[in-house]
Symmetry: C2
Subunit: 210 residues, 2 copies
Amino acid sequence: MHNSNSVDLEGLEALYGPLAESIRRLIDVSIRTEVGADVVAAATARIETVADDLSASLTPGSLGIRQATDGRVVAWGNAVIGLRNPVAPPLSVHHETDGSVWAEFTLGAAYEGPENHVHGGVCALILDHVLGATAHLPGRPAVTGTLTIRYRRGTGLGRPLRARAHVERVEGVKTFAEGWIEDDDGVTVEANGIFIHPRRADPGRIDGEI
Amino acid sequence: MHNSNSVDLEGLEALYGPLAESIRRLIDVSIRTEVGADVVAAATARIETVADDLSASLTPGSLGIRQATDGRVVAWGNAVIGLRNPVAPPLSVHHETDGSVWAEFTLGAAYEGPENHVHGGVCALILDHVLGATAHLPGRPAVTGTLTIRYRRGTGLGRPLRARAHVERVEGVKTFAEGWIEDDDGVTVEANGIFIHPRRADPGRIDGEI
């Protein structure tokens, strides 16, 4: 964690949030566009110049986990919840007082597997994150040990979806969590996960939300 | 499958491949950029205008699966292997004559979970796809039934990785596959999957490669 790299959250959120949102929109329309070859070629060239400008100063490697001046810890580069990561939907994971978590979201063309359906692996990605979020405790992150995903039926693109998870039981250092992805017609995918609280934090194995 | 929507693969590959590559680069530098607020705001505005231009004509929904004039079936919108999908690394899955499959790839900042490490769910996404690719037969796609992922240790960002999978056994309509993600030091994540060949193809449940 870059403790030394404190950031002013509000200011940067207002700056980087719209950048990532515009790129999410660009991703979506770039997949679905049917404009002429000349427009596509011109768009490609313009994207390269924008990327050049943003490359004038880059953090090496990846964004990592950062601590804000107010003490909050943010994972803006995270592939599921990252505000600054255009690959992330991004999910906003809500924590209930009983320890359960949930998120509501809709997935578009960028998450396709079978025609008009969410890629099964994207469902696994989301469930890994949401189940992991139940196991994390302040200052005591958990790592994923085993994740089992059962696919009941297809998950539709462009439909309102909900992911939810809760802790089933705790046995020593192991937390057993279960969760689901649902649409208006019920569960599409279900998951069970075993998460482990290492005695000594090993950031290389910390999954999910911080 | 849009049989009526045949495409000239080579021409479109040369057009859309570079567009997606430029957006993959843009995604990476947008996460890591440390340029000033004015440059970020200007980049956001320019990306919106490029998205506007590409939006002049859009396929509704998602890209789906398309058949080329030469009979080949392409999944350019796929979240793991899609040539046109900037969210996809994209993986190029190689099929060996013994039925095993493999892919070599490196994942950057856009796939981060724990600091400097690949999100555990991204490993699940890739393994779902690669295991599924072993179970698919020409004209007889398989759907994922159950996927079990075991995390042995962290998977590094920016490191050469290899995913591989093969069929362990077949029992009636069920194909049992196993696979791994490895770096230079060995296995980081292992997976087992049960894939089912439905009697009647239900595209809503077809996972993985076509």
